[in-house]
Amino acid sequence: MSEEKYVPKSKLARWFDSRLPLLSLSHHLTEYPTPKNLNYWWTFGGILTFFLIAQIVTGIILAMHYVANTDLAFDSIEHIMRNVNYGWLIRYAHANGSSMFFLAVYIHIFRGLYYGSHKPPREMIWITGLIIYLLMMSTAFMGYTLPWGQMSFWAATVVSNLFGAIPLVGENITAWLWGGYSLGNPTLNRFYSLHYLFPFLIFALVVLHIWALHVPGNNNPIGIDVKKNRNETMSFHPYMVMKDLLAMLVFILIFLGFVFYAPNFLGHPDNYIPANPLVTPAHIVPEWYLLPFYAILRAIPSKLGGVIFMFASIFILVLLPWLDTSKVRSAVFRPLYKKFYWVLVVMVILLAYLGAKPPEGIYVILARIATAYYFIHFLIILPLLGRYEKTSPLPTSISDPVLDKLSIVDKFKKTAAEYEGENVDTFK
């Protein structure tokens, strides 16, 4: 955990490191001090890194067999599934990998919301994270178009038509996105090109995200600053690495469960029908991870309004560090925020459920209520809580809550000893 400047031992290493400081970088990364009280919710950064790399690797392999042409795309996917050695495995890993990637990113985001990881001085970590999230959504959307099935075609049609809602230039923008008057071969080709590019942009932003993280260091469940000189931190390697690896293995087990036992569970059967521009499937829905936004889009009874609210629901998160004005980071010490946090979680899950339902009757009304609550949470409740919430007293050190628990054990030992009239020092 030494903060002093790193000097490699051998002469050759010193020569190399003074010209290209990769050894210093690697030393910084392994010795990077992490708070000792990080819980398992902090392992999702590692899980996300794994999935980014897994998606890039499986994607590069799929690109060796896939053909981006409207006449051939669907058949080339079937070719991958039936003929290419292990093609089925790689495609199912890629398709389910994206779902797992989003599951992990949602847990990661909601962990940040709970423990106040978006608050000063970590605003730039939060904002680079949101840019990554936006890039992830566009990458996933374009990737979903590539098989050129019915769901691919109509999901892409609906999403690109969102831009048609922009006044005056809307139609020009959709024609520019499509490269035609409707979704067609030029569209498929450019989506393929960008689908290949974006993961590398995400990778670059992940570097910035981690760089921004390494300036102030990790937040922690208690949410107060750690004191590096008081044994409150541990080096990233091996301690956090091992914890991350364990969580990653458990998460990968769930992922492989989907890949091997329910590879199409999260997909839509309609996407095994080749794209047909004359027939829209009776019930079109986006992939599950976009459902809350889809519900917001449909909740507003106006085309432009729906689009504005949908984009606003994401961009409002950029402002979160300034809307959530409470000086206390962690929800552990914010009794009211904790309640509203869980209401928000329920509302987002409700929106996801409603996004998958047809836009009629009670579903529309519920979607409007949930959409309204989503915005009220960020625009009204959070600023008010920052001003009026009475927070619990903060411990002076991240070690305190642990030491408090120890004293409970001590008390128990004492009572037990009194009760049994014997020495129970062996109890540990």
């Binding site: 609906v158 048609g164 409707s182 979704l183 829209t280």
Partner: protein, 170 residues
């Protein structure tokens, strides 16, 4: 020459350089952006001729034009009456039925929902005409939006009757 003139000259040169630089940058970027617009081969596929002699009253055919479905419906007397009787004040996007057809019997329109581009289903919805399953827009027997999130009536393409049995779209 004194210092003042020097600095004036210098700032003029800076501004001129930035301006030329910005124009050059714009001219360089434009081809990179414009390549994504519809190309000549797509623009040239602009007309389709359709034989409508086999369509009976109350039936619709769907043909593809510029990658989009075109509905051609031979309307029944009842449908035409419904479409013409509606008070314009009741419409979201007011338009007379007679402005939407060249011959009231034939309704020719782009079968793309003006909300987010799905293909509406025929004979469905509150007006037993067209209903978009994606986000629940109802259209009447003239293809006008009556209920739901779509902002506009179904679009009428440019078309003409070449003879009694043939429609040329585009």
């Amino acid at each position: 020459m004194n210092k003042k003139i020097h600095s004036k000259r210098r700032s003029f040169l800076f501004t001129a350089t930035y301006t030329i630089g910005a124009v050059g940058l714009g001219a360089t970027i434009w081809p990179l952006v414009d390549q994504m617009n519809p190309d000549s081969s797509i623009k040239s596929l602009s007309t389709t001729e359709v034989d409508v002699s086999n369509i009976e009253s109350g039936k619709t055919i769907t043909v593809l034009w510029r990658g989009k479905p075109i509905f051609i419906r031979r309307r029944t007397k009842k449908e035409i009456d419904e479409a013409t009787k509606v008070d314009l004040k009741d419409l979201i996007d007011p338009e007379k039925d007679s402005d939407r057809t060249k011959n009231p019997e034939w309704l020719v329109m782009i079968g793309v929902c003006t909300h987010l581009g799905c293909v509406p289903l025929g004979g469905k919805g509150e007006y037993k005409a067209w209903f978009c399953p994606c986000h629940g827009s109802h259209y009447d027997t003239s293809g006008r939006i009556r209920k739901g999130p779509a902002p506009k009536n179904l679009e009428i393409p440019k078309y003409e009757f070449v003879d009694n049995n043939t429609i040329k779209i585009g």
